[in-house]
């Protein structure tokens, strides 16, 4: 018998009188609260203004910087303001007129190093924690958001959900090979619980919010 069969046989020997049915879980209160709400459009405390405020507070809490822009020329200025004097850059947003490394010329992801700046697109944000869903599998190289020293993620500020329950409903319809919720620049507190921003991934992160209710979009 191979290991797989041995393991499965052993599992089947354990008693099965501990059933909690899936339906039971789904009908339990918190799930009902979260999932039923999300099937409707907006509910109380969940209008876009509230979501944006929550999202901004969350970003501050995770040491991410954020700026709003109304056109792409402004976006370019904001990025140059965020980081000046960078040499090597990858820009995945064509509308922003910043030229970067030609990715076709790369022999391996390792030749991306060193990478001062990466500008990528985020799909949507999560208000309760500041997370941004990035479809990293769609990038020409998966290494880009993690190898760069400084990361700019552009999102549409109308694309926000309240919490992780809704976030997963949202990604359910998407086919991805490698998706990441990115929540601020990389961090560690492994030395005496002192927070240090900039561990192995980006040292700084700018969330570039396209349009906003404040801009009347």
């Amino acid at each position: 018998m191979n290991s797989k069969d041995k393991i499965l046989e052993n599992i089947r020997m354990s008693t099965s009188n501990r059933q909690v049915e899936l339906e039971e879980i789904l009908s339990s209160q918190s799930n009902e609260m979260h999932l039923k709400k999300s099937t409707k459009n907006m509910t109380e405390g969940e209008n876009s203004l509230n979501l944006l405020d929550k999202f901004k507070t969350s970003l501050e809490g995770v040491s991410a910087e954020y700026r709003f822009f109304s056109d792409f020329a402004e976006a370019k200025d904001i990025i140059n303001d965020f980081l000046s004097g960078y040499k090597r850059c990858v820009n995945m947003i064509k509308d922003i007129a910043i030229s970067g490394i030609k990715l076709d010329d790369l022999s391996s992801p390792k030749s991306l190093h060193p990478l001062d700046l990466a500008i990528i697109k985020g799909e949507f944000g999560v208000a309760e924690n500041g997370a941004i869903w990035v479809d990293a599998g769609k990038l020409p190289d998966r290494t880009i958001p993690f190898l760069c020293e400084n990361l700019v993620v552009m999102i549409d500020s109308n694309e926000l959900v309240l919490d992780m329950h809704r976030a997963y409903l949202r990604t359910d319809t998407q086919e991805y090979s490698y998706g990441v919720f990115i929540t601020g620049p990389s961090k560690t507190a492994d030395i005496e619980q002192t927070l240090v921003v900039g561990a192995q991934g980006p040292k700084r992160m700018l969330v570039l919010c396209k349009g906003s209710i404040h801009y009347g979009q």
């Binding site: 041995k6 393991i7 499965l8 052993n10 599992i11 020997m13 354990s14 008693t15 501990r18 059933q19 909690v20 049915e21 899936l22 039971e24 879980i25 339990s28 918190s30 799930n31 809490g61 995770v62 992801p109 390792k110 190093h113 999560v126 309760e128 924690n129 997370a131 599998g137 998966r142 290494t143 993690f146 919490d163 992780m164 329950h165 997963y168 409903l169 990604t171 359910d172 991805y176 090979s177 490698y178 998706g179 919720f181 990115i182 929540t183 601020g184 620049p185 990389s186 560690t188 507190a189 492994d190 030395i191 005496e192 619980q193 002192t194 240090v196 900039g198 561990a199 192995q200 991934g201």
Partner: protein
């Protein structure tokens, strides 16, 4: 050799400044957790739901493992099954040999610590670099982690500075955590750029989609997996959850319970290999399916390794993780280890006051303190404890059954306490008396009133 928790914890707590520092650091994390949790509406219902999902999944584990495998294969991953640590290590070794890998970067994985993968690979000529900062520090010091989320919580920044100076010739005496972290970053960058494979642990594996989820803060898992052609994910078979929507429950709880963050910086969903890359998933049993059979103890498999029970445990905080003598210390470690070796770890279930704080803080509602109590009974019944203790307890049992005998013994004890000089009561055999006075015997007897 049995783990001598008493001796180890006593020597840890003897250094008052250091153990107080350790206690305060972890209490600080517990406080951060409290604040994060209070900010979530219906936290207690979320706990119940998480616990129910795990119950459901563990009661149908065979079905969900097969569903997971099927979907992972569809995604293009290669799935392996390992019945124990040896088989796991062998599988990893074979994958690396096939690709002629000489150097591998690892992100945090308690499972590979459990399997002792690093020494196995090193013996086979493969260089292993732990890339989580805390793990890197203890790897350089050649010691095991003392906490599952904060592996280097027992080490002071001065010691890290000394270590980095010795290994990497960093500035001597610079104890600034930011400076030290950046020095480690520079060193680890070189390792990422010169490795040929990456290995990660797994926080959640989703049966419905065959994807695996890894939660980290440093970016090391994503960097390693993206930059190398071969990715390996080692998962304990209990990491499974049925549906993708269940991730909503667990990602809200994990980081809040662990460090007081609302979510980890990176919550990474690895579903398909990169173009021209290979993705391996190793499903590891190593005693888990045996544990699943134990009526009193199977719920310990619900654990999502947040470490909250360690941060809250008043004994762990004052004893240090190394006193437990196992990769997973603290209350959860004390209920996992007797499964592995009852005799070796027989001290651990007793290293608790059964105060219940661990059970209340647990995001998946494992009744840790009850399981500690139940393990004590298993240990007592199996005569794992010293013979002298067994005889004494048997005698005590007889005394408590018989009020006459009970009174007589207490009376004798009373007289003994009154007439024996202090130096006998407070000698080294009397553990109570070392740090405390004996309670006073009252001359006036209550029972005389009746």
């Amino acid at each position: 050799m049995a783990i001598d928790f008493k001796q180890k914890s006593a020597s840890f707590v003897e250094n008052k400044t250091r153990s107080a520092w350790h206690d305060t650091a972890l209490w600080f994390v517990r406080n951060k957790r409290d604040i994060a949790v209070m900010g979530v509406e219906n936290w207690e219902q979320l706990r119940l739901q998480a616990s129910n999902i795990k119950t459901h999944c563990l009661s149908n584990l065979d079905k969900y493992l097969l569903e997971f495998e099927e979907n992972a294969l569809k995604n293009g991953a290669i799935v392996h099954w390992a019945k124990d640590a040896d088989e796991h290590n062998k599988i990893v070794g074979e994958i690396l040999n096939k690709h002629k890998v000489k150097k591998i970067v690892k992100s945090k994985s308690m499972l590979t610590e459990e399997c002792e993968l690093n020494p196995y690979l090193e013996k086979n000529g493969i260089e292993v670099i732990d890339t989580d900062l805390g793990e890197r520090i203890i790897q350089l010091r050649n010691e095991p982690p003392s906490h599952i989320v904060l592996p280097a919580i027992h080490i002071k920044k001065e010691e890290v500075s000394e270590l980095f100076h010795e290994k990497w010739n960093t500035e001597r005496g610079n104890n600034d955590p930011q400076y030290l972290t950046y020095q480690a970053r520079l060193s680890l960058r070189k390792d990422f750029l010169t490795s040929d494979a990456a290995l990660t642990g797994v926080n959640f594996a989703v049966a419905e989609t065959g994807e695996i989820v890894v939660c980290t803060n440093e970016g090391n898992a994503d960097l390693g997996v993206s930059i190398t052609p071969v990715q390996i994910h080692s998962m304990g078979l209990e990491k499974l959850i049925p549906k993708r929507s269940h991730l909503g429950v667990f990602t809200r709880m994990l980081a809040r319970s662990a460090t007081g963050q609302a979510i980890t910086v990176y919550t990474s969903h690895f579903k398909k290999p990169k173009p021209e890359g290979e993705m391996h998933i190793i499903i590891v049993d190593n005693g888990r399916s045996e544990r699943l059979k134990k009526e009193d103890f199977w719920t310990s498999l619900k654990c999502i390794r947040c470490g909250a029970c360690m941060n809250t445990c008043p004994i762990y905080r004052r004893s240090g993780g190394h006193s437990y003598g196992y990769t997973i210390p603290g209350p959860i470690g004390a209920i996992l280890t007797p499964n592995i070796n009852l005799e070796k770890y027989s001290d651990l279930p007793f290293a608790s006051t059964l105060c219940g704080s661990c059970s209340d803080v647990c995001p998946v509602k494992i009744d840790i303190h009850n399981q500690l109590y139940k393990w004590r009974q298993v240990i007592g019944k199996n005569n794992v404890l010293p013979k002298t203790k067994t005889i004494a307890m048997g005698l005590a049992g007889k005394i408590l059954e018989k009020p006459g005998l009970f009174k007589f013994v207490f009376k004798m004890g009373r007289i003994a306490l009154r007439i024996l000089p202090d130096f006998i009561v407070y000698n080294r055999w009397n553990n109570w008396g070392k740090g405390r006075k004996m309670p006073e015997i009252k001359k006036k007897k209550l029972r005389n009133e009746f």
